[in-house]
Every structure is written in structure tokens, then in C-alpha cells.
């Protein structure tokens, strides 16, 4: 395997000898097939889970939401703090 000295030989015959076209077509077909199967599985998954959930409802998460479910971080943002401060200030003013 491999070559130590430079010995380039540009030739279409190299592609034929190395079964380049066959490998490329087979490779693309398999990649498309594998990703298509995954895609179809993902598309079917919500329906499967709806049926499953009727029998085994999804219980409350004992460990809290997974990272990708987290919408709000624990610490309020600066904007949120500012909004709360303004609201409190106005309420105190009115009272």
C-alpha cells in the first residue's frame, strides 16, 4: 500500500482499474440509503411514540429537563433583572 517515490500517471484507465466509478456509485447509494432509513425512522417515530404513550404515558422527568429541553437558564438575564426592577419601581411609585 502506498508509494514512496513520485510516479504520477494521469490516465482514465486508472479509474477503470481502481473501480472508481463502481465505488463512487455504490458509496453514494449506500450513504443515501442509510440516511433515508434514518430519515424515515425519525419521520415515523412521533406516530410510534403517540401509540406507545397511550399505553405507557411519559412520566415526569425525575432528573430535570435534558440540556436541549432547557429554555430558561437558572440565572435571570440582565434584561430580565432590568424589567423586574422597572416594574417594582413603578408599582412603588403608584402606591
Amino acid at each position: 500500500m502506498g508509494r514512496n517515490d513520485v510516479n504520477f500517471h494521469f490516465d482514465v484507465q486508472n479509474i477503470i482499474d481502481g473501480q472508481g466509478i463502481d465505488i463512487a456509485i455504490t458509496g453514494m447509494v449506500i450513504v443515501f440509503f442509510a440516511l433515508s432509513v434514518i430519515s424515515l425512522f425519525i419521520a415515523a417515530l412521533p406516530r410510534i411514540l403517540t401509540v406507545v404513550a397511550q399505553k405507557w404515558p411519559e412520566s415526569e422527568d425525575r432528573h430535570g429537563p435534558a440540556p436541549s429541553q432547557t429554555v430558561l437558564s437558572a440565572a435571570p438575564s440582565d434584561e430580565m433583572v432590568a424589567a423586574i426592577a422597572i416594574t417594582l419601581h413603578r408599582r412603588k411609585g403608584v402606591a
Binding site: N7, V31, F33, I38, A43
Partner: protein, 375 residues
């Protein structure tokens, strides 16, 4: 005096060749690009400094370089040579990847497949230029735009080309913001670039937990050569999504991936000694690598346009360019090019779907090439 003269003979100045000097300049350019232009700094700084370290000359009797059995650098390089580091990086990538956008719009996965045409057309090009089928397979995987996958497959099929292939793969990944936009604009009309896509649906916890297990089983059963890469990728994702192994997921996506990236980048850089790197082969590999990136980008965009022929709700063809993987840079490029036409069009999260599908697709492509070449 003789001892002093002998010592002078052993210094780096005496042992340096013009090639070593040129490589040190290249290493410094990498570091400069990373610091001043922010091009993949987490990769280019270790690689760039590794290039500088690897090109300091020394006498043959000293075991210092990555190719010298028993040297410190040789032990670090072992992880590259044996394909250990890439799966560990995939573990970290899995632990930090959110597959939600892909799960909410599964048809976008096909764009990750379309972009893999870069791998296989480059393979044909490399064969034409006279590379052996194993070398052509290793060079072709540059089109997968995935550094760890390129290193993994090169280590298996053509270890003697590992240095140039790794450097080409990571260099072009860093140059994604330069390479992709002209091709994306050339292949799309303004109307197409203005297409807005619907909000992704919310993904349930069960879906996110089942996905990595099922996707691994499907991919690995079809292409077992991808077990190491995809096994670690989906294992990392399961750690993240299970919600019960947060500590492990944290370690995988922070400390582990950082340590492995440092070791991998540095040792790959150090493997580019001028004596083994500066050859006509390397120039051809760089040329083919650039071509494969362009073809992969075009494949993704044209794949999206082809899908639009059959879809009622059109997809923005720009997101096809993210199918080349190069996570998350190519998705960011999609966002950038999309916002040049419409500043209020947010394509980033949509582009992440083909982007992560591209990672899976290139790993499957590598598995196929490995299976076919190693009979």
C-alpha cells in the same frame, strides 16, 4: 573546541533545510490566521505550533520527531496513527450536539447525503491522477469536511498520507467562510435565497433518547466500518439526552474533547516534517481537497434545489451547503449568506439539520470506503 564544533553541528540551525524553514512559515501563518482572523483557532493554533515544533531540525541519532520510535511525540502521535483520537472527538461532539432540528425536519437529512458526493467524485479524481485506490479513498474523505473522519480513514487506508490529508482537511474547514459563499451564490437565485423556513416543532424527550440508539443501529448495521466513529458520536449524544449522565456528558463535551483536540492538533502538526510533507503528492492532495470541498458544497445546494422540485413547502437551498458537515461553521456560513439577502431570515437552526446529518453521512462514507478497500 571540538566539542563546541560538534555541538554546533547538532543545533537546529545546522540541521534545518529550506523545506523546514518553509514549513515553519506555514505554521506561523496558521497561528496568525487563527488569532487575527479567528479561523478555527481551537484547531489551527495547536496544528500551527505543532508544524513549527515538527520542523526544527535535529541529528538523526536523537529520537525526537513523531516518526522516531520511542520519542515523546511518537507516543502522542500513536493516538492519531491508530485512529484513537477521532472517535474520542466524536464522543465530545455527540455530547454537545443537539439533533432537535434534524428530528423536527427529517427530510433535511438527505442534504447531508447529497453533500457526500464530494467524497466519491474526489476519489475518482485521485484515481485519475495515479493514486492507489486506498490513497484515493483517504484523499476523497477530505470532501466529508470532517477532520476526525479524515484522520481516522487515512490512518486506516494510507497512513503515509496522513499529514497532508489532515492538514488539508482542517485548513479547508477553517476556510469554509471563504470557499462556500461564492458557490452558494452562484448556484442559487435571489428568490431562492430569500425563502423562509417554518419553525421547527418541539421534540419530546423520548424521541431524543431513542434517536441516538436507533440511528446508530441503522447506520452501523448498514456500514459496520462506521462503528467506531458513529458509536462514539451517538453514545455521547445519549449521555447528553438521557438526562441521568450529565456529569459524563459534561466531561465528554468539555475536558475530554479539549484534551484530545490539543493532542491531535499538535501531533498532526508535528507530523508535517518537510522531509515527509513537502512532496508533489501533498500539492495534489491540497488541490483535490479544495475541489472536494467545492463539489460537496455544490452537491448539497443542488440536492436542496432538486428536493424543491417535489416539495410543496420549499426549503432554502442555501442550507444544502451545510450538508458538508464542518460543524458548525458551514451552518454559520448559511446564516451569513442568507442574512445578506434578508437580515431577518434566520437559517442557522435549519442549517444545523443537514450539518449534523453531514457528520453522520461522512462517517458512513468513511465506513463504506474502509469496508470496500480492506478486503
Amino acid at each position: 573546541m571540538d566539542i563546541f564544533l560538534d555541538f554546533l553541528h547538532t543545533t537546529g540551525f545546522a540541521q534545518m533545510t529550506l523545506g523546514n524553514f518553509a514549513m515553519i512559515i506555514i505554521g506561523l501563518i496558521f497561528i496568525t490566521l487563527a488569532i487575527t482572523k479567528d479561523y478555527e483557532p481551537l484547531l489551527l493554533v495547536p496544528i500551527g505550533f505543532g508544524v513549527v515544533v515538527g520542523n526544527i531540525g535535529y541529528v538523526d541519532t536523537m529520537t525526537l520527531g513523531v516518526y522516531d520510535e520511542g520519542s515523546v511525540l511518537n507516543y502522542i502521535y500513536f493516538g492519531v496513527k491508530q485512529g484513537i483520537f477521532p472517535p474520542l472527538i466524536f464522543l465530545g461532539i455527540g455530547a454537545m450536539t443537539d439533533f432537535s432540528t434534524m428530528l423536527s425536519n427529517p427530510k433535511l437529512i438527505l442534504l447531508g447525503a447529497a453533500a457526500q458526493i464530494g467524497i466519491f467524485l474526489t476519489l475518482i479524481g485521485a484515481l485519475y491522477l495515479g493514486f492507489t485506490p486506498e490513497e484515493a479513498g483517504a484523499i476523497g474523505i477530505i470532501g466529508g469536511a470532517d477532520g476526525p473522519t479524515a484522520i481516522f480513514l487515512s490512518a486506516k487506508l494510507a497512513p503515509h498520507l496522513l499529514g497532508p490529508i489532515a492538514i488539508a482537511a482542517y485548513s479547508y474547514m477553517a476556510l469554509v467562510p471563504v470557499i462556500q459563499p461564492p458557490i452558494m451564490k452562484l448556484l442559487t437565485t435571489r428568490e431562492e435565497r430569500l425563502i423562509r423556513m417554518s419553525e421547527p416543532r418541539v421534540i419530546g424527550r423520548r424521541e431524543r433518547i431513542i434517536f441516538p440508539i436507533a440511528a446508530f443501529l441503522i447506520a452501523a448495521l448498514i456500514a459496520p466500518g462506521s462503528i467506531a466513529l458513529l458509536g462514539m458520536l451517538f453514545f455521547g449524544n445519549l449521555l447528553k439526552e438521557s438526562g441521568v449522565t450529565e456529569r459524563l456528558a459534561n466531561s465528554a463535551r468539555n475536558a475530554l474533547i479539549d484534551i484530545v483536540t490539543i493532542l491531535l492538533g499538535f501531533s498532526v502538526g508535528a507530523s508535517t516534517q518537510a522531509q515527509t510533507f513537502l512532496k508533489p503528492d501533498s500539492l495534489l492532495i491540497f488541490g483535490l481537497g479544495a475541489l472536494s470541498f467545492c463539489v460537496a458544497t455544490a452537491g448539497g445546494v443542488l440536492g436542496a434545489k432538486f428536493m424543491n422540485l417535489f416539495l410543496k413547502q420549499k426549503i432554502n437551498p442555501l442550507i444544502g451547503a451545510a450538508g458538508v458537515s464542518a460543524v458548525p461553521d458551514s451552518a454559520r456560513v448559511v446564516q451569513m449568506v442568507g442574512q445578506q439577502e434578508d437580515p431577518h431570515n434566520y437559517l442557522l437552526m435549519h442549517a444545523m439539520a443537514p450539518n449534523v446529518a453531514g457528520v453522520v453521512g461522512s462517517a458512513i462514507g468513511a465506513g463504506i470506503l474502509w469496508s470496500v478497500m480492506v478486503k
